[in-house]
């Protein structure tokens, strides 16, 4: 384990608890804090930031009537969404239909348990730091596909079914390149441990006019970064790869039959997924929480990075057309997979020769 104290240990130590009780209380409190941070991001992103960002891209103003900068739309939207009737269509397959909206946000939130979110003052915001951290986070993230299939199958709707099937095809085609590309980072860092990967990006690559460019893997291997970014967009189902939902084609895909709280859960899950995608990207390619200034404000840099990724997804959404399902599969299997393996082999050879 790293020398840095993890968040649950910090909590139990501060509370003066030890043993099993300390572990349990510390973990619960830490998980609650991290989970709420992520959910707070989502709360801001969904009803407010997304609208504001898209509006900026499309020459509009968007929410500006309630509260400063329209920020009070967030509670208003929450009340509105939760107050709606939960319509359960005839013939849905329960309890699968009820479980699907829970699995999606849960899987995404689970992923955050091993993400080193950096330091905020004395606190190191990382819940756990297992040696297989990176593998674990991908494993958690891919549970999301199961949720989409459950929703698509259980809804007893043909559009949902199409959406669910599309989600499976897409995740199969893109998860492999995603993970293979991530493995090239592992070859560089020599560890699967997320904190280790971040630590390995702390050196100086080169200096330009007194400005140190760090050894973030995005700079070391930009090709892998682009591959990873693309596969990541497909993994989280954003434009140009938003085809499991594809509102103008299959209405809303797997979400078609969901309303009210269940719809909110799906929406929430998708946004947490975007942030998780950003977090994985930050950890593997953008130096985690590192940035100018003291290490104690690392968390802020981390927030900047994942929000930057969020901004990027919204930009793509405003500007890019959506690819067709067969083109998506083709790009995945014939393009991304080949390129990611080429990248892996090349990285292995280079690292092998240099090291």
């Amino acid at each position: 384990m790293g020398t840095v104290q993890l968040f649950p240990e910090f909590v139990s130590e501060t509370l003066g608890l030890s043993g099993v009780l300390g572990d349990v209380v510390g973990s619960l409190v830490a998980a609650a804090v991290v989970g709420n941070i992520v959910l707070a991001f989502t709360g801001v992103a969904g009803p407010w930031a997304k609208r504001k960002i898209t509006a900026a891209f499309t020459d509009r103003i968007a929410v500006n009537r309630i509260g400063p900068f329209g920020l009070l739309i967030i509670p208003a939207a929450a009340v509105q969404l939760l107050a709606k009737e939960l319509i359960v269509p005839e013939g849905v397959d329960r309890p699968t239909w009820d479980l699907a909206p829970l699995v999606l946000p849960a899987s995404a939130l689970l992923g955050f348990s091993v993400i080193p979110m950096g330091r905020l003052g004395p606190v190191n915001l990382q819940i756990a730091d297992p040696e297989v951290g990176l593998a674990l986070v991908f494993a958690f993230a891919s549970i999301a596909s199961i949720s989409l299939v459950m929703a698509g199958y259980a809804s007893n709707n043909k559009y949902s079914m199409l959406g669910g099937l599309r989600a499976v095809a897409q995740n199969l085609a893109y998860e492999i390149p995603l993970i293979v590309t991530a493995m090239s980072v592992v070859i560089f860092a020599g560890t699967l441990q997320t904190s280790g990967i971040v630590a390995a990006q702390g050196d100086v690559l080169f200096s330009v006019v007194g400005f140190d460019v760090p050894t973030w893997y995005a700079f070391v291997n930009p090709f892998a970064f682009v591959l990873f970014l693309t596969a990541n967009m497909a993994e989280i189902g954003r434009n140009p790869f938003d085809i499991p939902e594809a509102p103008t084609e299959i209405v809303a895909g797997y979400q078609t039959e969901y309303s009210s709280a269940y719809f909110v859960l799906f929406y929430l899950g998708e946004f947490v997924h975007i942030f998780l995608g950003g977090a994985i990207l930050a950890v593997t390619f953008l130096g985690g929480a590192s940035g100018p200034g003291p290490e104690s404000i690392g968390f802020l840099w981390f927030v900047v990075k994942i929000w930057g990724f969020f901004l990027f997804t919204q930009w793509a959404r405003s500007a890019l057309p959506r690819v067709r399902i067969d083109q998506l599969i083709e790009i995945g299997w014939k393009g991304m997979l080949v390129l990611s393996f080429a990248n892996l082999v090349l990285t292995a050879v280079i690292v092998g020769v240099i090291a």
Partner: protein, 555 residues
Amino acid sequence: MSLEVPDTTETDAVPERTPDELEALLGDLVIDRDDHLNAPGFVIRPDAVQETLSTLKSEAGYDHLSLVTAQEYENRYESIYHLKKFDDPTQEVSVVVPADKDEPVSESGEAVFRTADWHEREAYDLIGIEYDDHPDLRRILLPETWQGHPLSLDYDRDRPQIATLPEHANPLEDHHHDSESDTMFLNIGPHHPATHGVLHLKTILDGEQVIDVEPDIGYLHRCEEQMAQSGTYRHQIMPYPDRWDYISAGLLNEWAYARAAEDLADIEVPEYAQVIRTMGAEMCRIAAHMLALATFALDVNGDFTATFMYAINDRERVQDLLEDLTGQRLMFNYFRLGGVVWDLPEPRGEFFSKTRDFLDQLPGSVEEYHDLVTANEIFQMRTIDTGILPPEVAKNYGATGPVARGSGIDYDLRRDDPYGYYDELDWDVVTEDGCDNYSRLLVRMREVEESAKIIEQCVDLLEDWPEDERNIQANVPRTLRPDDDTEIYRAVEAAKGELGIYMRADGTDKPARFKIRSPCFSNLQTLPEMANGEYIPDVIAALGSLDIVLGEVDR
């Protein structure tokens, strides 16, 4: 090709035959003559429709079945096949097919012109003529359980009829389930984000691939023909055309009625009014094409695309101009028989400079759309070589407008059958040879630039027009009563294609039959040709590239 240099080679290729030569060609198929104002009309036997149409198509070059009109007289039923040539739409001929009053049956023309399929279904639905040898003679606009034929003479208009969906069609019927095959029946619409209104596509899927798609229309049928038949020529019909293609193409629609009615009643329109009409119509075309671009981007890019808002933004500017000109943003009601309702807004200079400002910024916008949309690799991947509509197929279905021009058919009534002030101006007809979704979009985007050219020339003309010659309306009698039994069919180039009006006068101040030839109606018929065998997203894109307005399809 510019209008100022008339191309004579086209008319050489299809020499115009005189009515007598045509009669000789058809020989004993003809039993009588019934000439219309626009074309010679030949009355033929009800069982010789296919023979007549195919003779005219293959030997005389009448390759465009523009419209099928059906009507009921006191003593007979009648179907009229309005034929034209794609090479020269001024060469027209009407094939008049009478049918027995008690048992109205005539032969279907579907085997010769595919477009007759839907047109004859509509005639059957609304008038009650049955067509022999028709592949699929069902009601098209009204529900299957409807009682009577609304435009027939003995129809009881006061009897309310309510046809619920489960009563006339059950989308979950068992026969859609086939345990042997692995296809899936899918209802796209009538409430679907990409059907551009209340269109219902009955789709059969094999996985993501479309095996068969059948458009089901009529959800927005508002009896527009019936309403026009109850209105007076002079005043009461003009507000309705705005409501056919309501995507701000109002003036183009009004012109369709104005042109037909003016020719029917022999009204000359002052030149000044023609220039204003031309300018207004082209503004409408820009507005309509901007919306087509915007919604096509929605279909291909997904919602929240910037292109949509940008294009709508430009459309708003045109609508501001149209509002200044007509006082309305959507339902203009600006044309009058014999001219327009009022002159340009005062101060004229302000209107001109506002228009010029718009024209100045338009090239920049179009360039931005090309950067954002047509130059995008993903967009090209999605639209090039998808939704293929070969020119022969397009002609067979009577496709017109940007849909036909996207398939390389050089057909534009503004040039080929000139009206208004178009033949005095310098502009080009845009065609693309790709026959795909991309070409159709490209045609619209390039037509916007041509329309801007036309508007600019009109503004130049209007600016220098002498003040004492600004005559906006001809002297038209308060009540128009065209002679009994005069018939006319006239079309204009609307935003979506050839928008035609057939009218039959009966000596009163209201038309006895008012038939609308909707370009969207014919264009939508081509959808299965483009969509079968493609993926669902391509069907959506093909539908978007047709740019239909259900208000005009269903009327």
